[in-house]
Each structure stands twice: as C-alpha cells, then as structure tokens.
C-alpha cells in the first residue's frame, strides 16, 4: 500500500487543528493576502479532514497524544465518527462561506478598512477552535476550545460595526463568558471529586449532580436553548451574512456537541429518565417559541435567526429519546445527522438572505416582492434549503426528522412525535410566509445592485448539498456511528 494510507492519523489530526492556526498567523502578517490565504487554508483543512475520514473508515477511531506527553500533563486528541463528521461539515461550510465572503465583504472593506481583514484571522481562529473542540478528549481542553470559539465568535459578530451589531455582540460576549464560567466551575467540581479530567463516568454523588447542573447550564446558554436564547437572534441577525451563516450553522452546534459528549459519556450514570426529559421539555418549548417568533419576524435575517432558535430545539430531543428508555444508537445517529443537515441548510439560507440584502439594499420581508423573478438562483437555493429545514423529502432534514420520529414512535413517545410533526408544520408556515411575498409579481426591476456570481453559486451549492445529504444518508450515518460511546448506553438511563 502506498499513498495516503501510509500517513499516520496523527498527522491528519494535527493538520486539522494547526493549519487554521497557521493561516491565521500568516494573515496577521500578510494582511493584503488574507482572502487568498483564507481560501487556500480552507482547502488544506478540508484535505486534512478528508484524510482523517479516510483513516477512520479504514482503521476505526484514532488518537493523538500531543508531544508524547500523556494526560493529565499532555493533551490528547481523539478522532471518532462524530468528531470527524463535525469537522467535515465545518470544512465544507467553511470553504463555501469563505468563497462567498471574498465577494460579500468587499464594499465593507472599502469604507471602514477592517471588515475583510479582520474577518479572515478571526474566522481562522474560530475554525481552529472548532476543530480542536471536536477532537478534544478531556474536560479542560474542552473548556479552552469553548473559550476560543466563544471569543472568536463575538469578534465576528461585532464585525458589522453598526450600533445594533455591537450591542448584540456585547450581550453575546457576556452570555458566552458566563456560560464558560459555569462550565469551568463544573470542571473544578469534577476534578475535585474524581481527580481526573477524562470523560469517564462520575459517581452519583451530590457533587456530581452539582457539576452536571453547572456545566449543562453553561452549555445551554451557549447553545441558546429556550429560555436562554435571547442573545442569539440579535447577534445572528445583525452580523454580516457570512458570519451569520457560520454562527448559526456551526458555532451553536459546537457547544451542543460538548453537551452531547458530557451527557452520554461523563454523566451517563447520573441521568435518570426524569433528568433526560428536562431538555426534552425545553426542546419542545424552543421549537414552538422559535417558530412563532420566526412567523412574526419582519426582517428576513431575523426570521432565519429565530428559525435557528427553533431548530436548536430538535437537537435536544436526543436526550429523552436516547437516554430515557429508548435505544441510544439510532437517536445519536439521528441527532448528528440532524446537525449536518441543519448546518448545510442554514448556511445556505443565510447566504441567500445575504444576497437579498445586497441586491435589495434591505431585508424587510413585506417589501421583497419580485425576489423570485429577479434573484431566481438565490431564491431557488433558499427554497431548497427551506425544504430541508422543514424536513420534507428528499432532503437531509427529512432523513434526520424521520430517524428522530422513528426513535420516538418505537419508544412510544407520542408527545415528542407530535412535537416533531408540529414543528415541521410551523417551519413550513414561516418559510412560505417569506415566499408568499417573494413570489409576488412586480413588473419592473427593484434591485439596487448586481451580485457577483459566486455569491449566488455558493448559496446554491450549499442548498443542493443539504438535498444531496438526504440521498447519501446511508454511508454518512455509518461514518457518524464509528466509535460511539457504548458505555452507559440506554442501560444507564434506567431502562426497565
């Protein structure tokens, strides 16, 4: 065997984290070339993740002990199915959003000189943080990466420099710091109780429950689960479109991903059916409230941001479905698949909304008549991605919802099945509320500016990706399930 099989997995793992960092540093020096370096760096990272995925399929989960120092002194990174899946979707979305940003941020760079030059290094730091977070294998490194992700995101959210954006970013900063703090206190408690930072089960002692509560609260804040979602809509709606796409598609998923790891690996022995239903109830409320707010939104980007609040709810259905008497594997696969589907669709929708904003000069939904005629490609992308958000076939969103629905019905959880179906109806309502304006026939052109082709192309490709995901679900699900935590499977949930 020659070729990439001979490259050890740790090279790929190291490259996935180090190349965005290197790119970010290079950009700080070579400011002029930031955009070119960014696109180049994206390709390199995507290549590293692809190599890692290949290794994973061949050899199973991989790990890298940085510098040969074992924990607790050194850092250990682990690449299993979920980590590689998350890094993969981040790579795909990062590449297309980056290409989009090269066009979108141009005028912004002309007036205040910072827009584009700040975007790239911040985004590369964010990307390094995300990849490290997916691969991190102990509580403290998860904390560090969470902090990197949080700070870089706040910087990106403030990039638009309008009063609204800065205020939203400040709020985001406070929530993010508070969340990290709560998480860190939990880590301290776990360390005091067990003397280790590894993701292994903690004993069912009061200190364990306190850690569970603190860390979960911190992560719920960062993930913006109802009722802790207040910071998200202004932050996501006021950021520049490529940033909104990254924040909504990837960043909220990162803290959820940590929560997933914690509940299924670290805290599995502590979680009984009643505890597992708590996020389930919040999830149902999030789906309902987010959708209603999206229905009432006046601006397109606001609508999409509230849609994220609703869709975050679906993620948390994994806890009742996977831990309260149901079977773990299907629910876990379903939620990871949901993350991928939502990430692609939401990024596409935000990019399409960015096109609307650029072409119309505003995004007031009621005044967007004629959009379908005049921006057919962007609107087609919006529609295709919208279908995935709603969860209609044959999109990735449909497969994800079907898997969740099947898990709910098999466990006899009718309430959650109702939430899934009802949430789909509400999503249809808010997506098509937009289209009922956009389809209006307006005889003459109302656009203020033309769009570079790649802005429409990137939105369309991501939208088609969310559709293709549904048709290629089988191999992707198989990859996502490599190296799932078998510990604490359903049994820990107190299955009868």
């Amino acid at each position: 065997m020659t070729g990439i099989e001979t490259i050890a997995a740790d090279v790929w793992i190291a490259a996935a984290v180090a190349s965005p960092l290197a790119a970010a540093c290079a950009m700080l020096v070579l400011r002029r070339w930031a955009a070119a370096l960014g696109v180049l760096g994206s390709l390199v990272i995507l290549g590293a993740v692809a190599g890692l995925a290949h290794q994973l399929l061949l050899l199973g989960p991989q790990q890298l002990v940085v510098g040969g120092w074992d924990p607790p002194l050194g850092i250990r990174l682990r690449a299993d199915g979920p980590a590689v899946g998350m890094a993969g979707i981040t790579g795909l979305i990062g590449l297309f959003v980056g290409i989009y940003a090269t066009a979108y941020l141009r005028p912004l760079a002309a007036s205040p000189p910072h827009g584009e030059r700040l975007f790239w290094p911040l985004w590369m730091f964010l990307w390094a943080g995300l990849n490290a977070l997916y691969l991190a294998d102990d509580l403290f490194n998860l904390y560090v990466t969470l902090e990197v992700v949080g700070l870089a995101s706040v910087g990106l959210a403030a990039l638009a420099r309008t009063a609204a954006a800065v205020a939203a970013a400040l709020r985001y900063l406070l929530v993010s710091l508070l969340g990290s703090l709560a998480y860190l206190m939990g880590v301290a408690l776990v360390y005091a109780a067990t003397g280790t930072l590894e993701l292994r089960g903690v004993a069912a002692a009061p200190v364990g429950y306190a850690a569970l509560a603190l860390m979960s609260a911190g992560l719920l804040m960062k993930t913006a689960l109802f009722p802790l979602h207040g910071w998200l809509p202004p932050a996501h709606a006021n950021a520049p479109a490529p940033v909104s796409a990254l924040l909504s598609a990837l960043v909220v998923k990162a803290s959820f991903y940590v929560m997933l790891r914690l509940w299924f690996e670290l805290f599995a022995p502590l979680i009984g059916p009643a505890t597992a239903h708590l996020p389930g109830v919040l999830a149902a409320a999030a789906i309902l409230w987010g959708s209603l707010q999206a229905l009432a939104a006046r601006r397109l980007k606001q609508l999409i941001a509230y849609s994220t609040v609703a869709q975050v709810g679906y993620l948390f259905l994994v806890f009742p479905l996977g831990l309260a008497g149901g079977s773990l594997r299907p629910a876990w696969g379903a939620v990871l698949f949901f993350i991928l589907a939502h990430a692609l669709a939401k990024a596409a929708v935000f990019l399409a909304a960015g096109n609307v904003l650029k072409a119309f000069g505003h995004d007031r939904i009621a005044d967007l008549g004629g959009a379908v005629q005049q921006l057919p490609v962007s609107m087609f992308a919006f529609a295709v991605a919208g279908v995935s958000l709603v969860g209609l076939p044959p999109s990735g969103g449909f497969i994800a919802k079907w898997l969740l629905l099947a898990a709910a019905l098999e466990a006899g959880r009718w309430g959650y099945a109702g939430v899934l179906v009802g949430g789909g109806l509400l999503a249809t309502a808010y997506i098509f509320r937009f289209f009922s304006h956009a389809f209006r026939f307006v005889p003459e052109s109302v656009l203020c500016c033309g769009l570079p082709r790649r802005m429409e192309g990137c939105a369309l490709l991501l939208a088609l990706g969310s559709m293709a995901l549904g048709l290629a679900a089988d191999p992707i699900l198989a990859l996502l399930q490599i190296g799932l935590p078998e510990t604490g499977a359903a049994g820990a949930g107190g299955a009868p």
Partner: protein
C-alpha cells in the same frame, strides 16, 4: 444491475433532468426550451410504452436504493403503476404542447414554469412507480412542493392567497400521512406494496392500531383527493393558469391522492383484510358523500373553472368509492375511472382555457352562442361533458356501469342511488352549459379577440389539438372498451392479479 433495474429510474430521470436543465435556459431561448420539453416528453412516452409491453409480459422492473437504516427508495412497475404512468406520460405530452402555446405571452418566467412543470411530472411518475409507502411519501411531498410555484405562477394577490390555502391543506395532509407511515413502519418494519396486501399477519395484536392508521392514511391522502371535508383548496387553486389546472385535476395532485387510496386499500392492507377490519364501509360512505356534495356545489357556480373544480371533487371520489366496495367489479369500475376521469377532465379544462384565452370569457352566463366561434373546442367540451354525465358509449359510462354492477354484487344497493343522483346532478350542471353554448344567440358585440394569432382555425393549433385528441381518447376508450390495451382491458389485468393471487 440490468436494464430492467434501471428502467423505472430512467423514466423518472427523463423529466427530472430536463426539468433541472430548463431552469438554466435563458428566457429568450424559446426554441431550445421547447425542444427540450417536447424531446423529454417523447422519450418518456417511448420508455413508458416499453414498460407497458414488459409488464404485460410479466417482466419485473425494480430499482432499489438504500437511503438510510430502514429507509429504502423502491421504484417498481406493476400493472397498477403502469396505469398511472401511462396516463401521466400521455397527458403530459399534450399538456406540454398546450402550455407552450398558452404561456407564450406571459410576462412571468417561462423557464421557471416549465422547470417546475417537469419536476411536477417527475413527482407524479414517482408516485406511480413507488414500490413502498416511504417512496410514495417522498414523491407525494415533492408533488406538493413542485406544484406550489405553478399555482402561484402569476404572482397576483389572488394567486398568492390560493397558494397559501393550497399549501395549508396539502402540507397538513402530508404531515398526517408522514405520521401514519412512521407509525406503521414502527409497528411492522419496512414493507413493500404487494398485491393482496401485507398487513394481515400483524392483525393479531395490532388490529386496533391498524384501524387508526388506516384513517390517518386516508385523511392524509384525502386532502389531495379532495374528499369532503378536506376539499377546500381545490376550488381556490383555480386561479392557476389553465394548463396547470388541467394537470392538477387530471393527473397530478388529485390523482395522486386517489391513487394513494387505491394503493393503501389494495396493496398495503389488502381489500379482504380491510373489509374484515371494518374500515371499507366508512371509506365508501365518505366517498359517496363527496360525490353528491361536489355535484350539488357545482350546480351553483357561474365561473366555468370553479364549476369544473367542484365537478372534480365529485368525480374523483368514484375512484375512492370503487376502493371502498369489496369485489372485482367495483374495483374495476373505480380503477378504470383513474384513466377515464383524467381524459375527460383534462379536455374540459383545455376547452375552458381556450375560451378564456381566445375570447376572455370566464363565466358560463357569458358563453351564449360561443359554440359558433369555437366549434371544435366546444365539440370536444360536449363530448367530455357527456362522458362525465355517463352517457353511453363515452368512457364515463363504463366506469359508472361497473361501479353499479360491483355495488349490486357486494350487496351495497345504496350505492346505486348515489350513482343515479350524481348522474342526474352531473346532467343538471353540464347540460345547461351545452345549451347556452350551442343554442342561445350570442349577446352583445362580439368579444375582442385575445392575443393569440388567428388563422383559419378558431385558435392556434397547439391550443386546439390537445383537447381534440383527449376528447377522442375519451370517446374511444369508451367505444372500444374491450379492445386490446384499452384502459378497461388493462384494469382487468390488474383486477385479475389482485383477486387471484
């Protein structure tokens, strides 16, 4: 994979790929768009003809693609699927021709229209060829999504409102259907459509649940099939351009619902088993109510397309009625009406479109003497209307005859009353139109000619040929009902395979 494995998928792709390509064609490249449209329609006709031949000779055509655990995309051809596939590919061909002429001067994007038009036909063929409930669900939802842009094509406030109502009904129905399919799958695991049904072996502990699921499925399908009280969207959707209405009423949306009911009754539950569960009688009663209700409402409409729409509500339920009565004759009458209703109703809508396009007339009260101005169009209209009433030897007579015979054989005498009442009502709302058109003197100054260029013909040939052809098809499938490969002959084949396993 052999050619036989690929044929169902290829049939789907012959409109899916052109559909995607048409989106990219610039507005002014009319010739390119037209040739792509017609080329795809001809290719599809040829492939479907091949499939008809193959199914007749017991070939097995099946495409199987795994989607995810427990989810398989199955496209398969049995005699029933070929019935709908053949109907839709023939009617697609004529409707495309008609639509090209009809929308020539429309200010809205024609590339968008024909793109979605092709996707809509792909969905219909997907529904026809679906080999299990999940595949059916997939195309059923895709049909909803691809018809929405057609319904709101004009972008006027009226069409936006109609589109909203249309979506509210169909997405709601789709959600019920999804829930039912997911529930059934949770109970039984994935199941393929099988002649004679597959659920009997699950009856022992699950009979009660199966009953509930049956009604959920019927409710989800009944929205598109416009069963009362789920029919509200259909008369609203009339604001769509005439070719869209024609397609919606004859092959696409309404037929998808009716076809789904047939599938669920015969190939999921099995009609014997459904009768044992006691779910057939309610279905038949619901269909009967819809038949009478639709006809009564049609009586009071002055807008021609609205009257036709209520007539569709009524006529499509003959198919559900056939499925609700146990016995081969009723099955025959119901299933053959899938084709017969399609041929007759598409003719009526083409004719209504011609009158609207050529003379700007939408109301029946203004159609006095219009037969002189549109002799061929109105002759086609009259033929189809007689068919709807059930006058021999038109196609509609055949359907009603077998339904009545089947009801008698099953001991459901009340159905005869429903059929008689419905025929009387059909006559009551169609004959006055014919009287107005042929025998009343034209009133007022002749209406201004529409934008369609007029030569020696009453209206452009591409608008005239489609209704003439479909009217003749409706006539011959009644006149030569027993001929080789007639709709009735083919339906006999299905019924034989269903009742004699």
């Amino acid at each position: 994979m052999t050619f036989d494995n690929w044929l169902p998928l290829s049939i789907l792709l012959t409109s899916l790929i052109p559909g995607a390509l048409i989106f990219m064609i610039p507005e002014e490249r009319r010739g390119l768009r037209t040739s792509l449209n017609m080329g795809a329609a001809v290719l599809k006709l040829a492939l479907v003809a091949l499939m008809v031949w193959g199914v007749r000779h017991e070939h097995v055509y099946e495409t199987r693609l795994p989607l995810a655990a427990g989810l398989q995309l199955v496209l398969a051809a049995d005699a029933l699927s070929v019935l709908l596939a053949a109907l839709s590919s023939v009617l697609w061909f004529v409707t495309t021709l008609y639509a090209i002429a009809y929308l020539e001067h429309s200010p809205q994007s024609r590339s968008r229209f024909f793109g979605f038009f092709s996707l809509c036909v792909s969905s219909t063929l997907g529904i026809a060829l679906a080999g299990n409930l999940i595949t059916f669900l997939l195309f059923y939802e895709m049909l909803t999504l691809t018809t929405y842009p057609l319904v709101v094509h004009r972008g006027t406030p009226a069409s936006m409102r109609a589109g909203k109502i249309y979506l509210a009904y169909t997405i709601g129905g789709g959600a019920l259907f999804l829930l039912a399919v997911a529930w059934l799958t949770a109970l039984t695991g994935p199941l393929d459509f099988t002649g004679g049904g597959v659920l009997r072996r699950f009856a022992d502990p699950h009979a009660g649940e199966l009953r509930v699921i049956f009604f959920l499925l019927i409710a989800g399908l009944g929205v598109k099939a416009a069963l009362v009280p789920l029919h509200g969207w259909l008369p609203q959707a009339m604001v769509a351009p005439a070719p869209v209405s024609a397609l919606l009423h004859a092959v696409a949306v309404v037929k998808a619902g009716a076809f789904g009911i047939v599938r669920v009754v015969y190939d999921v539950y099995g009609i014997q088993f459904a009768a044992e569960l006691g779910v057939l009688r309610p279905l038949a009663v619901l269909a009967a109510v819809t038949i009478v209700y639709g006809s009564v409402r049609a009586l009071f409409q002055d807008d021609l397309k609205k009257r036709l729409a209520y007539s569709t509500v009524s006529q499509v339920s003959y198919i559900a009625l056939g499925a609700g009565i146990l016995g081969p004759l009723a099955t025959l009458g119901g299933m053959v009406h899938l084709v017969h209703q399609g041929l007759m109703k598409i003719t009526l809508f083409f004719c209504a479109g011609n009158v609207a396009e050529g003379a700007g007339i939408h109301r029946i009260s203004r159609m006095a003497g219009i037969g002189r101005r549109f002799p061929v169009t109105m002759a086609a209209f009259s033929l189809a209307a007689f068919g709807m009433i059930g006058v021999p030897p038109m196609a509609g007579f055949i359907s009603k005859w077998f339904l009545a015979a089947g009801a008698l054989a099953a001991g459901e005498g009340w159905v005869i009353g429903v059929l008689a009442a419905s025929s009387a009502l059909n006559a009551a709302y169609f004959l006055p139109i014919l009287h107005t058109v042929w025998f009343k003197p034209p009133e007022g100054p002749p209406p201004a000619a529409g934008p369609t260029p007029r030569g020696r013909l009453e209206i452009g040939w591409m608008l005239l040929a489609p209704p003439a052809v479909t009217a003749l098809l409706a006539l011959t499938s009644g006149l030569l009902a027993d001929a080789y490969l007639s709709p009735l002959w083919w339906t006999r084949l299905i019924v034989d395979r269903e009742y004699l396993p």
